[in-house]
Amino acid sequence: MANPVPETTRVVASHLYDFAACEHRIALDTRLDRARRTPPDDAMRLLAEHGRRFEEKIARELGYPEVRVEEDDWERAARDTLDLMRRGERGIYQGVLLDGRRLARPDLLERADGESAVGSWHYVPGDVKSAVEARSDGALQVGFAGLLLEAVQRRHPAHGFLILGDGSRWWFETGSIRRSLEDSLERVEAIAEGREDTFPFFSRHCGRCRWRDACLPGLVARRDASLVWGLTRTRRSVYARHGIGTVDDLARSEATALRRAGAPTDGLESLKRQARALLDGKAVAVRAVDLPEGAPREHYVRIETDPLDPGDAFLVAWGSGGPRGGPLAETGVALGGGPAERVAAFRSLAAALGGGREPVFHFGRQTARALDSLGREARIEPAVLGALEGRLVDLSPAVRNAAALPVRLYRFEEVAAFAEARPLPEPGEPDDALFVTFALLRESADPDPLRERLSAAGRDAVVSLRALRRFLAERAR
């Protein structure tokens, strides 16, 4: 990197989040001018706004005193936090914890019994998340705050917590991930301080990364090997030592030579096929796949859900047609939003699918999970719901088994575009456009155009599923 690491560089909790997603972000964040970051788009603004509002709601309900940071005076804010801790406040919102170059600002610090340097009590850290599931990166951030709390109050908090999007509190033992946290922090600090090099690497996290314009154009221009689906950062690094840095290099690589040189070759044939597909812009056949045949009708279902809540379906689309291809005979779309709408959407879907054994094609676990969640919300009898779920046929693994496609992430949008011979999405293009549309719908004064956009997207999705099914049928035995 061109710029030296400033002495004031701090390691903050979000670096752990970045480390889990893409370690190169840490290097960019600590060494480049943050003004160069890609401005947030509508989706990012919406997500951030949604998160902020939820956090403020929780903070209001809890009523804890807030620590403010004036004019970037973090030391002052840390002192204010310590004062509140010594006073034994029940909880503190946005407290600041400093330990050398480490800085944490957990959403919440809550008082717990047990002596510490601040009194006959101590504090445990927590964060507020709008997702409904607890993830590692959230726990690592809270764990990081726990390390700094230990330095401040001379007592390590045995537990930390997250308040999740459904309002529930999820507790965990900080000791249960301590080693992972310490190892991660060691590497984060090495990267932040310039002691360890990183490199740009294409992944699904690029779509939401504020540094994507600093990395992506270069990766695409030089046809970096990381554009090949299935290649991990570690494997990319190992292959680079053996002269493989681009898609072209990977496509031409020789397993025997690599093996002799001691490089890993398990999975190499699959990577090579993927690289060739990208280079040629065409599918590279892998093998024939068997899918259910012989039913008089086939059904297709696509369910879109809130990215932060897999159980919250906002778009349910379906279609059905004969087994020999051709246009769909029927399609339907229902929009969710609240429990009543979701139940109604499920019932419409179930009526369209009928009670037989005809296959129901979908793409990815998201639809299967959402269907299950909708069915239970609609209180469908277990036997009926179980039978319906038994008809689901996931085309996602079938696609990957059948051919290497010239796509980068095997998301539905890319695979569908390929199957329909449409232009593929650009690398790094985020895939939550529909959710953004739905979120805007909820707040719009004129929702009808947005509704129509969503409905059209749902119909297009089932048409795409049909095209995908045809693509696979052409490769069947």
Binding site: S136, S176, T232, R235, G267, L385, G386
Partner: protein, 599 residues
């Protein structure tokens, strides 16, 4: 409160029903998806064997097949289809076993659908037979929910988390008196306490038996005590093997007690030559002989025909941590009081299909253990102190201790070889590092290290093949190691030890166990593999097979994985802890070229 997301209550029944319906469809669906995969991939997954040739058939219907390599997951008794291609219906057979040296696979024609010619001239393959026994479980749930008798109410109360568990004083007195006489005398303290609880607690008792603690023996003694008190006792489990083990131990410990196993021929043939009587159905169980207590054994899913009444006073579930909760009602529907023996820290039930409901992979033992603290057997006769330490701390709250005889055992090193530092008797558990990078499911440098070490164990250290096991999570690595070992051992005239996944050796033990962890691509491990690879139950079983020497062969890069799901991260943290706490001996320079090593 039960494991996350599983609060006992009346709602448990709807959840179980949905699960069973979904599972039934998943079995059919999973089977269909399985057959949609090419044969090579199914072989790689251990779900198919191909390239077989019929060598001959014996009079009892056993077919001998030439089998170049067996990477299958199957166990004795698994139902399979033998055929030339997926288009044929095939001959139904039952998996019997595999002779590694002779490369001969044995299967037996199934009593149901096992007729038909088998072509000698063309290559054959074995596929799993789709079997769904969920109807039995659903019927059991219906029986339990809607019967009004006291036994059904008691069983419902247990499964709904409403049962008040108490010690019956007279039963307690009876149990304690028994402990003064054979065969119950001489038990160590925790076994004594567990025995009393097993006999006297009502309506449910749980006994947790860590590795090497003798839980099957304890179960047999408890069964004997209950039967001698006049109770009608059923021993049940998910597999015939588990039921038969308890009945065999019962017959040895208490010859005055009659044991009857109910099941098909393939479920009782390992009882030949024992005092256990084998019959085909419950109706064929003879009445008890005068003044002789009788115990009946049958697998959980073999109880379908007797769900309507509580035929037994006590139902004893062995290997209860491998009985899926959804199938447990089959055993609960036929009894009034229950004893569960198992260990939920070892491998749990096998579940097909993907389920978001945590109930799906829960065993009945783990479910009930969250409400009713099990009696823990605290002494292991298997592992020495060094090997016991980590699993005891991590999985048994530090309460598992080796018996003095086991604690003192040391690996009998013959010094002067290239692996003395690893085989040092003073280091019972050790990590041998080979710092490769980027490998996923097969790593040749690590396989060479493992093969060299195992060859040393068998040749220089003169251990018998039966004293050693090699374990790896990945079949591709297993194949690699077997190939290298065959090359190394054949010239020395040595047979191969077991080289397999840990599932194959659960319940077994060896003097020395070598584990090839294989993977060094942390991002790949953190992906779809994470839940499987970092399973703490699998880790526990892996770490607790060895008596005096456990060697984990691994690269440091494995321990950098950061799975996105919290549970997987917590489990991965256990691996990091293992890496930090165990002594390490580095073999990298022997197996990795300079140019390929990183910082």
């Amino acid at each position: 409160m039960s494991p996350a997301g599983v609060a006992p209550g009346a709602g448990i029944w709807e959840r179980l029903e949905l699960l069973l319906h979904r599972e039934a469809n998943a079995v059919a669906l999973g089977h269909r998806e399985l057959l949609a995969l090419p044969v090579e991939e199914r072989v790689e997954r251990g779900e198919c064997l191909a390239g077989l040739r019929l060598l001959g058939e014996e009079a009892d219907g056993t077919l001998r097949l030439e089998c170049p390599e067996n990477l299958s997951k199957w166990r004795r008794g698994d139902g399979l289809l033998l055929r030339a291609s997926a288009d044929e219906p095939g001959v139904k057979v039952v998996y019997e076993g595999f002779d590694v040296e002779a490369r001969v696979l044995r299967v037996r024609r199934s009593p149901w659908g096992g007729t038909g010619a088998v072509n000698r001239e063309i290559p054959l393959r074995l596929d799993p037979e789709p079997v769904s026994l969920h109807e039995v479980a659903l019927e059991a749930i219906r029986a339990l929910r809607f019967r009004r008798d006291a036994a059904a109410q008691a069983a419902r109360a247990v499964l709904e988390g409403r049962a008040d568990v108490a010690i019956a004083p007279r039963d307690e007195e009876y149990a304690e008196k028994l402990l003064t006489a054979r065969p119950y005398a001489g038990l160590e303290d925790s076994k004594r306490a567990a025995f009393v609880a097993a006999v006297a607690k009502r309506p449910v008792a749980l006994v947790q038996g860590p590795p090497g603690s003798g839980k099957t023996y304890l179960a047999a003694l408890a069964v004997s005590a209950l039967a001698r008190r006049g109770e009608r006792v059923l021993v049940t489990a998910f597999t015939h093997r588990a039921v038969n083990q308890v009945l065999r131990k019962l017959a040895e410990a208490d010859p005055g007690c009659d044991a009857v196993k109910v099941g098909p021929p393939h479920g009782t043939d390992d009882l030949e030559g024992t005092a256990v009587l084998a019959v085909r159905s419950m109706g064929a169980v003879p009445p008890p002989a005068p003044r002789r207590p009788q115990v009946v054994g049958a697998v959980v899913l073999g109880l379908g025909k007797i769900l309507g009444t509580a035929r037994f006073d006590r139902v004893v579930f062995d290997e209860a941590a491998q009985v899926p909760l959804a199938f447990a009602p089959c055993g609960f529907a036929v009894g009034a009081r229950f004893l569960l023996v198992g260990d939920h820290r070892q491998l749990g039930p096998i579940v097909q299909g993907e389920h978001d409901d945590p109930l799906a992979s829960l065993s009945v033992f783990e479910y009930l253990a969250a409400e009713h603290e099990p009696s823990l057997l605290r002494t292991t006769w298997r592992m020495n102190e060094g090997i016991n330490a980590f699993p005891s701390r991590c999985f048994y709250g530090g309460q598992l201790e080796p018996h003095a005889d086991a604690a003192a055992r040391r690996f009998p090193l013959v010094p002067g070889g290239p692996f003395d530092a690893i085989l040092d008797p003073g280091l019972p558990a050790v990590v041998a590092t080979v710092h490769h990078e980027g490998f996923r499911t097969r790593c040749e440098p690590e396989a060479r290290a493992v093969a060299d070490l195992v060859a040393d164990l068998l040749i220089r250290q003169r251990l018998a093949p039966g004293d050693v096991a090699v374990v790896s999570p990945f079949r591709a690595q297993i194949r690699e190691i077997r190939t290298l070992l065959q090359r190394a051992l054949r010239p020395a005239g040595k047979e191969l030890p077991v080289v397999d996944t840990v599932e194959r050796i659960q319940g077994q033990e060896r003097e020395a166990v070598v584990v090839s962890l294989t993977a060094s691509d942390p991002e790949h491990l953190a992906g779809e593999q994470a839940a499987f690879f970092f399973s703490p139950n699998r880790l526990n079983v892996t770490l607790t097979r060895a008596r005096t020497k456990l060697v984990l062969v691994a690269s440091r890069h494995l321990f950098r994985a950061l799975p996105p799901a919290f549970d997987d991260l917590r489990n991965a943290d256990l691996f990091r802890r293992l890496y930090r706490e165990l002594p390490r001996v580095d073999l990298t320079s022997r197996y990795i070229e300079d140019g390929d090593r990183r910082r």
